[in-house]
Amino acid sequence: MRFIVNGASMEAQVDLRTSLLDLLRDHLGLTGSKKGCNQGACGACTVLVDGTRINSCLALAVQYQNREIVTVEGLAEGAALHPLQAAFVEHDGFQCGYCTPGQLCSAIGMADEIARGVPSIVTADLSAETIPLDHDELRERMSGNLCRCGAYNGIVAAIAETFAKEPA
């Protein structure tokens, strides 16, 4: 089976029961994506598939052959951190760091959803052309990513700072 992860083509033979998360962690050596519940409740396993965020623990690896998968290991450009990664460090958007890869991938996927005009439950005007990345939109859309250390304020500050610079 062939998988495209962080731009690289990779071969692996896996059990049909193997999740995308376990493929990454146990077969491809990409342990950045984390397992916190294995049932789609915590978001630590969030990765991007063709630019869309998904819970990789709920995805079967075999279904994701030849799709563009991006994990936390694929965000930085060599030595240079992705601006969101740098903002997480600056705003202390984590403590233990375990939920962080999922928060990062989720935030990047979320910013794209906002840019595409996908509404959330707190979007007041469903017909609006552009949706503002305000405090409630951001928190609502990130609520699938749990942080037990409680670094939410820092995470929100890091995301707001990073994506406020780009037109939504």
Partner: protein, 769 residues
């Protein structure tokens, strides 16, 4: 702890009260206690880049050659015996290496239970898979090893077990009928009486007397409990997610009958702990299975597995009765109650501890009992005792203030004690009223309406509440540090301590760099490995002070050695250890910094590549002489929907008096993290225990509701930054105080918004309808 030990401790405390300060702990004239610069600065955490890259390697991410994966099968009854266990199908399943049950598990010694020896870490003293007895619903009864996790999980599901059930106590009400005093509450007597509090209560001008209830909780760190283990002969290596590496190694050594030095435990990263990442059955079972199979083993619990076999905070039922005189001082303070525990563990959830130190009262009665249940051993969870004890005590104070028509902060001013109300010791440093004043001003407490239900915006009722936060200062003995100073001007400081996100590694690097007079990037701090000098466990918010004390001692040894090496040809010649400090890459006279010599120069002249010293921190006698506690004031603003009962926390401010703050950035995160766990305690978190079967009913993050992004407002955090004159660096640990007082502040705000007093956590919307 035995009665004799208790008596000895009491005599010791009395004696130490008369000992001069300079003999007590590290209270000397340490210039770093007040010096600003690296210490106190908002340094970003040094392991941050690795964490955001996904490059930090956690316990389940260590891969060993020939490693097999473990899965567990859990008991479905609470008490009884295994009648039969059929493992044939599991053994025949693809990829299976081993099925281990009590019938074939290696013989292991009984685990030494926590607090029975300095490094005993077992959560209970039950034998681990040694017999057919079942002690709780969820007890592991079989372990499967297979080539892949999928194969192990499948095989574990094929195991058939039949049980002979026995009568089980799974009802708290039933258990309470036989509640009893535990021998001690963490070394304190279970009952403490000053005067006749019941009589004083009856005679009081105004009184309140209510029962408060808090449910079971689980730590629910996002990282699942996991370890990767391997034997090499009688030597065992455990790559663990651990907040007590030394105690885990010692305890595993006792269980497997090997020398402590043969067990190495590493834990460089821990994905959240909060009291839960200690020694439980999974490490023991993995090591046993690894020995039996002759293969390295990785075990990762499922989230359900974490609920089944990792204990959490226990259920409490607490009575608080307060009797006030007309002037608003307390005639009587009564805090009593009972928690569920088991006969095989020792964790009585010390909820009466806040009342031992917070307020002045003429008569005091504090008493704790435990009720034995057939359940998983409960354990310590962030601010055990204080987190739930402050809910009861601080709610009751709000009720008393209401009854007296006094502002709740004014009431606390009137009952502020001059000395510790139960020990009579002087406080080392206490600025609670200052924290209240600063917090009240910043939060806008003067906008609070004294009458409940007075503020409304549409469907939303708005209220404010306040409560005291408190947590003791602790520094543990036996913490050692090694400093290796190279001729290249690089220093490596090592302690087998723990970084679970608290900022330990960053803060102690700042400390060592400031003490050595080196820039941050010339100092490395190694931790989380039992091959390093022994540290303390990450508990009781002790690590900052314990590590600082050890580094101070090691630094003193280093300076002694360096002055010897410098000799008479140095500008430092003739200076004593306490007359020099680390400065600009070397040592300098404190009185005359122009008398300076660089480390490189000292080592070059002595023809040395490096100097290595190791020393243990001074005995923590300061805590015996003084009443040492951090305090704070928690301010909450809530909005309660008058139609649905939904509660939203709209604003929150924590104002803390925790001694010197060593890193403004990581400290803010620690306080906020504690507060957010407190919001969960107040509003959403509850481990649901089926009182018929003893089974936990919501063993998942989908049904155990930890706060999410949308539940958390911007949390303002301020502090007094008043250095404690009797602790290393003037600091007191801050990992746990954040959660204390939060539930009461929220409950008091809900009362102020709605006029409804909820004394039973969590405050879910059904309780407000």
């Amino acid at each position: 702890m035995s009665v004799i030990q208790d008596a000895a401790q009491s005599v010791m405390r009395t004696a130490i009260a008369y000992v001069p300060d300079r003999w007590v702990g590290t209270a000397g004239g340490d210039p770093l206690r007040t010096k600003h610069g690296l210490l106190g600065a908002p340094v970003s955490r040094l392991d941050g880049p690795d964490k955001v890259r996904g490059a930090a390697r956690f316990a389940a991410e260590v891969t060993l050659p020939g490693m097999v994966y473990a899965a567990l099968h859990y008991s479905r009854i609470a008490r009884g015996r295994i009648a039969s266990i059929d493992t044939a199908a599991a053994e025949a399943a693809p990829g299976v290496t081993l099925v281990m049950t009590h019938l074939n598990a290696p013989r292991m010694n009984k685990p030494p239970i926590m607090m029975t020896a300095p490094k005993a870490a077992a959560p209970s003293d039950l034998p681990v898979m040694q017999d057919a007895e079942i002690h709780w619903n969820g007890q592991p009864v079989a372990l499967v090893l297979a080539d892949t996790q999928e194969q192990a999980d499948h095989a574990a599901a094929l195991i058939e077990v039949t049980y002979e059930g026995a009568p089980a106590v799974t009802s708290f009400e039933v258990a309470k009928a036989h509640a009893h005093h535990p021998p001690t509450i963490l070394g304190e007597p279970p009952e403490l009486k000053i005067g006749d509090a019941e009589a004083a209560l009856k005679g009081a001008a105004v009184s309140v007397d209510h029962v408060y209830r808090t449910p079971r909780h689980n730590h629910n760190a996002i990282e699942l409990h996991a370890c990767t283990v391997a034997w090499d002969g009688d030597a065992l290596t455990v790559h663990d997610a651990s907040q007590l590496v030394n105690a885990t190694a010692w305890t595993l050594a006792q269980i497997f009958g090997v020398d402590e030095k043969q067990v190495r435990v590493t834990s460089p990263y821990v994905g959240g702990g909060f009291g839960g990442k200690c020694l439980w059955w999974h490490q023991i079972l993995a090591a046993a299975a690894s020995r039996l199979a002759g293969r390295p083993v990785r075990i990762v619990l499922s989230r359900e597995g974490v609920f089944r076999m990792i204990g959490g905070r226990t259920v409490t039922e607490q009575r608080v009765a307060l009797g006030a005189k007309a002037d608003g001082t307390l005639a009587a303070l009564i805090h009593t109650g009972v928690v569920a525990m088991t006969t095989h563990n020792n964790c009585p959830e010390q909820f009466t501890f806040p009342a031992r130190h917070l307020y002045a009262a003429d008569a005091i009665h504090l008493e704790q009992e435990v009720a034995d249940m057939d359940m998983l051993a409960n354990t310590f969870m962030r601010a055990p005792g204080e987190a739930v004890g402050t809910f009861a005590l601080e709610s009751a104070l709000d009720e008393l203030a209401e009854a007296m028509q006094l502002d709740p902060i004014e009431l606390r001013r009137r009952i502020e004690p001059a000395k510790d109300p139960t020990s009579g010791h002087d406080f080392s440093s206490r600025h609670l009223l200052d924290a209240y004043a600063k917090g009240a001003e910043k939060f806008g407490w003067d906008k609070r309406a004294a009458q409940p239900g007075a503020r409304r915006e549409g469907e939303w009722l708005i209220g404010m509440g306040v409560a005291t936060a408190t947590y003791p200062y602790m520094r543990f003995p036996g913490c050692a540090a090694r400093i290796r100073l190279g001729a290249d001007g690089q220093a490596v400081v090592s302690i087998a301590t723990h970084e679970m996100g608290m900022g330990t590694a960053t803060v102690q690097t700042q400390h060592a760099a400031a003490r050595l007079g080196l820039p941050l990037d010339r100092v490395r701090f190694d931790y989380g490995d039992t091959t390093l000098p022994e540290g303390t466990l990450a508990g009781g918010s002790n690590q900052t002070a314990s590590n600082a004390g050890a580094i101070i001692a090691a630094h003193e040894a280093l300076v002694t050695e360096l002055l010897k090496l410098a000799g008479n040809d140095s500008p430092l010649a003739g200076l004593k250890v306490d007359e020099v400090e680390g400065f600009d890459g070397g040592l300098a006279s404190i009185a005359d910094p122009t008398r300076h010599e660089s480390y490189a120069s000292i080592l070059a002249r002595a023809q040395r590549d490096e100097v290595v010293v190791e020393a243990e921190g001074a005995m923590p006698l300061e805590g015996q002489k003084y009443s040492m506690h951090s305090t704070g004031a928690q301010f909450a603003e809530v909005r309660v929907n008058a139609v649905t009962g939904e509660v939203r926390v709209s604003r929150f401010l924590g104002s803390f008096d925790c001694g010197r703050i060593l890193n403004a950035k990581t400290a803010t995160s620690q306080f906020r993290g504690g507060i957010i766990m407190g919001l969960g305690l107040a509003l959403t978190e509850e481990t649901l225990f089926d009182e018929r079967s003893g089974r936990i009913m919501n063993p998942s993050l989908a049904e155990y509701h930890v706060p999410v992004h949308m539940d958390v407002p911007e949390i303002d955090v301020i502090w007094t930054d008043a250095p404690d004159p009797h602790s290393p660096l003037g600091a007191r640990g801050i990992g746990e105080i954040g959660i204390t007082g939060v539930a009461a502040a929220v409950a008091n705000a809900i009362y102020n918004a709605t006029g409804k007093r909820i004394r039973d956590l969590p405050i879910t919307l059904d309780k407000l309808m």
